[in-house]
Amino acid sequence: MVDALPALRSTPSTSNGQTMEDEDIVRDASGSVVSGGAESLISLLLPSSSTSSSSEDASTYAFTLLLNIRTTMAPIDVLISLFHQTMYSQNSRGGNFCREKRSELFHTMYSLASMWSTHIPHDFTNQEMIRRLEELLQLVCIDEEHRVKSNQLILTLKSTLSRIDRYEKALATLVVKQEEELASSQSIIGLFSISSDTSLISQQLTHIELERLSMMALDDIVLAISESSHDSLLASPSHPSVNSCIHWFNRLSSLVATEILRHSRKRLRASIIDSWIETAKECFDRGNFNSTCAIVAGLNSTPIQRLKRTWSKVDRAKLDILQHQLDPSGNFVSYRSTMKAALWRAEGASKDDEKVIIPFFGLLLKDLFMIYHNNPRELPNGHLNFKAFSLLSSSLYPLAEWKRRTVSFPRHPIILQYLLVAMTYEEDALLLRSFEYEEPDTPTEKEMHKKMKKAS
């Protein structure tokens, strides 16, 4: 089996150069690529005489390679190499001049360009990349129909890019409203005074999550996990889509605590906690696990956790269920099985709203980080470890799908605005307020409170 496949692939096995790919590629018993040199791996993006690979396989292969190879080779160099190899292949064999072969070449390159520009569009924010892609498509066009399709692809790509640009600019203009000091009110203020409808609020949270998810750049994720060995806790500007997702999570969590501590009366604080728990549950039921987790994290923050008298007025049963879902025990075993069930449910769903999956992005990032750093990317013989590439991309592939899901429920601009820009406070300010509402009751807390009062 192992020997049979390369033989099948290398039709003109006698000619020089043509079989380079076969010598420099290692496959497993089922014919899947295990490892190879960079140029050889790129050459596999070209049509082959192999009949075994379906177009779906080809697309998975291309996705995996393009997403991963960037950690060793810049996208522009991949495109240049692809261009050269395509030109070479056109001219290397007489047989490749026939219409059928040239048409096959066009369709292969077109599918590749389409996959690339759909799933990894950020690569083309560089003008040179667009120019090179156009060049490649021109090279393989053989008739007017091809040219029309190619032009259409480039136009779609450009509109995607301008959408990304607009989104990034919009994110940058989101300025959080500044207040002098955390207000302390005797009546309901803040988010739940706009609406006490937790279902409506969970819908708006889902809108925010889906928007961030849809703009998530997969290439950003790969670079973010590969570089995390160099960057600090400070946001690194090179992966804006990843950072905006992390920033949002931290913000939501802090908003949860802030909203609770805006209220000086115990009964109201308990009622806000109830509303957050209800909101988290609604998010959970919608498949919005990221918001659920952020809310639960906020409810677990020290300034909120310590409010024992407030918590005594809260029905904890619902929170306990959510806590259990997000318990890190057994490497988040509960969450992972819930996720499986949610995927299963989404698959069978008929309405768009029921197909939504917004994963707990922090855990996804951690899993990807582990896959990336615990598998060698390069092997001692200089080959790129394609098995490791596949492992990583198979964890990213579902995300590429979830990014494209949409919901039908309406946007509520006032709530959205509040969620995105309302003031949140640092933990110190929140803790100080928490001590004001409920006195420190352990020696540690008393000492802490003394220190904080001195400092402020």
Partner: protein
């Protein structure tokens, strides 16, 4: 390890401990864990994703210990996630890179946060990793040790790469947790006491117990 129901055995204390690894990105949290894993287990039995969570049975000072270690690598920027990980922990390894002063500042932040959230009951270890890179060291070991003493933490240095001090680190942590658990939870902390489950065994439970808000 089986519990001795009669309590007739000589050393049948049984503990369940949870230790969380915290620190800035790139300080080597995962490497420490992997090094410990490789020293202790056959790594073939551990899939990559499982490697971020380790559960192990061991015996320290005659006590059977069920130890879970939670790694937070890759999630350093998720500061809101901290409580989800550390609540209910008996021990925390706060790791910094001896060649990176900024990573030591992060350790100071963690000390503050953990003392606030868990009080004095959590055993803190401050770990200076990458001591193999002596030439580019920027954080003075004595200064770090001094800081640790000041905040009631234990100071250790390791090199996950050269396998220096790694096993010792986890053993010291376990024995410190055993000592603490035998004395019983102090009444100073805000959370995190163990529960005694009758007989002669003491069991530290890391599942949320009723009435306590931990995850």
């Amino acid at each position: 390890a089986a519990m001795d129901p009669t309590g007739a055995g000589t050393s049948n204390d049984e503990f369940k401990f949870k230790v969380v690894l915290l620190g800035e990105g790139a300080v080597g949290k995962s490497s420490l864990m992997l090094r410990y894993v490789q020293g202790q287990f056959n790594p073939r039995h551990i899939s990559t994703i499982q490697a971020s969570f380790l559960s192990k049975q061991l015996t320290v000072e005659g006590s059977d210990i069920d130890l879970s270690i939670w790694d937070t690598a890759g999630q350093e920027k998720y500061h809101a996630l901290g409580p989800i990980y550390y609540r209910g922990s008996q021990g925390a390894l706060l790791v910094y890179d001896v060649t990176d002063a900024k990573s030591f500042d992060k350790v100071k932040m963690w000390v503050k946060e953990l003392r606030r959230a868990l009080g004095e009951d959590v055993i803190l270890f401050i770990v200076g990793n990458k001591v193999d890179l002596a030439d580019s060291r920027t954080v003075d070991g004595e200064m770090a040790r001094g800081f640790a003493t000041e905040v009631g933490a234990t100071y250790e240095e390791t090199s996950a790469k050269e396998n220096i001090g790694v096993e010792n680190l986890f053993e010291l942590m376990c024995s410190a947790m055993v000592t603490r658990a035998r004395v019983g939870p102090s009444n100073r902390g805000t959370t995190n006491g163990g529960t005694r489950n009758g007989r002669r065994t003491i069991r530290i439970v890391d599942e949320p117990t009723t009435g306590r808000k931990c995850c």
